[in-house]
């Protein structure tokens, strides 16, 4: 094959990748500084709640935004891990680190089971299977002894981190949650920007072609599903420790809906969008909880406005805006 490269009418696309990298690092540093200083200004429990839900939403987005699968059963992993960790720490007396590990492993196992059944179907069927399985898990949690039914697992001890950092201090707990959150985000970032992530992207772009290149598409999707479940579990485990409480609320279908809302609001398929979505929803809920205004109506309206007016979500719209593009961001599709 001795063809000289032929002249082509296609110009090289203008890419400010260097510029974008600088801007991203600047944003990252500013964000980290903000999170480190935040407990000076805000109630730590409130901040920890946001971080837990932010990690949950980012884990969910790994599936929706980067694999193209809409799960309607992610409460199972979030709430399930909360139960597992709470039980392991309280009843088995495991140290927190191991307790979290139990929660994450449990969520991954549940993800493997749910994924195995759901992954072969697409679109609404996939969503319905995940919803059905998570409802089954909800009723299991309602009946099973170790969850204490309607009471939930209460007064879960936080214990000491590495045996010497007292987590009962909310400042210590905050920085522990922040560290776990950052680790979770790094894992997600690496996962997306890895050889595996490239295959996921190609499957999302053209599944038939990926099959014809010899990829067992179902296995890659299952891998992403389990990873998403495990990270959602990490978020749930942390939440159980923060509130020292594991309840049925976290495995209920409304929780699966809430995480969809957070992801959509923040921006599907953007790494940091769901963080903002989670922050917004949690803040709304917290402020409205003390007022007479019904929270669900407000979140419902916010959801409709989002779908009608800014479909790409907060961060997605920012990336696609003139300012965002000038800073070198790209919003895919």
């Amino acid at each position: 094959m001795t063809h000289a490269a032929q002249p082509s009418p296609v110009a090289e696309p203008v890419r400010n990748t260097k510029n974008a990298a600088t801007v991203q690092i600047a944003f990252l540093l500013a964000g980290t500084l903000l999170l480190v200083l935040a407990p000076l200004f805000f109630y730590p429990i409130f901040l920890m709640k946001i971080l837990c839900f932010a990690l949950f939403a980012c884990a969910f987005n790994l599936l929706l935004g980067y694999t193209g699968l809409l799960s309607f059963g992610h409460a199972t992993f979030f709430g399930g891990a909360a139960y597992f960790t709470a039980h392991a720490v309280k009843e088995w007396g495991l140290p927190v680190e191991l307790g979290i590990l139990v929660g994450v492993a449990g969520a991954a196992a549940l993800g493997l089971i749910m994924g195995f059944f759901a992954i072969r179907r697409q679109g609404i069927y996939f969503a319905m299977i995940t919803l059905a399985l998570s409802q089954m898990f909800f009723f299991f949690c309602l009946q099973a002894g170790f969850t204490h039914g309607e009471d939930g697992i209460q007064s879960v001890p936080r214990g000491d981190l590495l045996g010497f950092i007292d987590l009962n201090s909310s400042t210590n707990m905050y920085y522990f949650v922040l560290a776990v959150f950052v680790i979770g985000m790094v894992v997600i970032w690496r996962f997306i920007n890895s050889p595996f992530g490239m295959i996921l992207k190609s499957i999302r772009e053209n599944e038939q072609r990926a099959i014809s290149l010899g990829y067992s598409v179902a296995r890659y999707k299952l891998g992403a599903f389990v990873m998403s479940a495990a990270l959602a579990g990490l978020a749930g485990a942390m939440k159980a420790l923060v509130f020292q409480f594991a309840t049925l609320t976290d495995v209920a279908w409304q929780m699966s809906g809430e995480v969809i809302l957070m992801t959509l609001l923040g921006g599907i398929g953007t790494l940091i969008g769901p963080i903002f979505g989670a922050g917004l929803v949690v803040t709304l809920q917290n402020y409205l909880a003390t007022s007479d205004f019904p929270v669900t109506i407000i979140t419902g309206v916010v959801f409709m406005v989002c779908v009608l007016v800014f479909r790409r979500g907060i961060i997605g719209e920012f990336y696609a805006s003139r300012l965002g593009r000038r800073l070198g961001f790209q919003h895919r599709r």
């Binding site: 094959m1 690496r190 053209n206 290149l213």
Partner: protein, 255 residues
């Protein structure tokens, strides 16, 4: 037409049939694809050419019949496994990954054979060791200048060329090309004809093609399909003289 004197059969189908409800899209198709030969599948629209492709690559399950690839029965094998065994296809509608660059398109194809597909813990730069091979393939189809362009930004013909490069990245034993020249500019047709001729020196190629001058130029063997059945078979000269084929193609023959 040059070719081995006694080429071996690498892909064969016997009694292939596919029903869609009451409609039979393909019936009684026997097909032998030989190593180092270019085999054309031609026929009017709706003759069942693409269905035959889908059956051979297992994207569709045959209602009856058997398919053998390199001596192994693949009648019940899933399509991704068939691809890993060395039977790789292209699609009638261009099949590229639109929001990946040309380089990434080719690298995705190279990832699996180089065991770089499941590493979720490694950075993207791990894929850089595929660049040399990818650049070779890109150069072979004349896409070097567009290496870093998004596939979506390429012209239709260039997309098809890219698709061929990704297909070749798998180093397939048997190549199934569904209308590789459709919608291409004349200079791309020349490029692709040369590529196909070159790759067929060491592989089997089965292609669906409407451009009969291309078929006449590069194909060693022609099978004519009509209404899901084989109408005629032979080299181009034989087939083009066949009165039944001339009737089926009346008014559309350009050769």
């Amino acid at each position: 037409m040059p070719g081995e004197s006694n080429p071996r059969v690498v892909l064969s189908a016997r009694g292939l049939r596919r029903d869609f409800g009451a409609f039979t899209a393909v019936k009684n198709v026997d097909l032998d694809v030989h190593h180092a030969r270019v085999h054309a599948l031609i026929g009017p629209n709706g003759a069942g050419k693409t269905t035959v492709f889908n059956l051979l690559t297992k994207f569709l399950q045959p209602t009856h019949g058997t398919i053998t690839l390199l001596g192994t029965d693949i009648t019940r094998t899933p399509p991704d496994k068939v691809a890993r065994m060395g039977l790789v296809r292209s699609f009638q509608i261009s099949a590229v990954f639109p929001h990946l660059t040309v380089l990434d398109n080719v690298r995705v194809a190279l990832q699996r054979p180089n065991n770089l597909a499941v590493q979720f813990w490694r950075p993207m730069s791990a894929l850089d060791r595929l660049n040399d091979r990818a650049d070779e393939l890109i150069a072979a189809v004349g896409l070097t200048r567009e290496r870093n362009a998004l596939a979506a930004d390429l012209s239709y013909g260039r997309k098809r060329v890219l698709e061929i490069a990704t297909t070749l990245a798998l180093d397939p034993k048997v190549l199934l090309l569904d209308e590789p020249m459709a919608g291409m500019g004349q200079e791309d047709v020349g490029v692709v004809s040369d590529i196909i001729r070159t790759v067929a020196l060491d592989r089997a190629v089965l292609m669906v093609e409407h451009n009969l001058s291309v078929v006449a130029n590069i194909c060693h063997h022609v099978t004519v399909l009509q209404r899901g059945e084989i109408l005629a078979e032979g080299d181009y000269a034989e087939v083009s003289q066949d009165p039944r084929v001339r009737t089926a193609y009346m008014g559309t023959e350009e050769a």
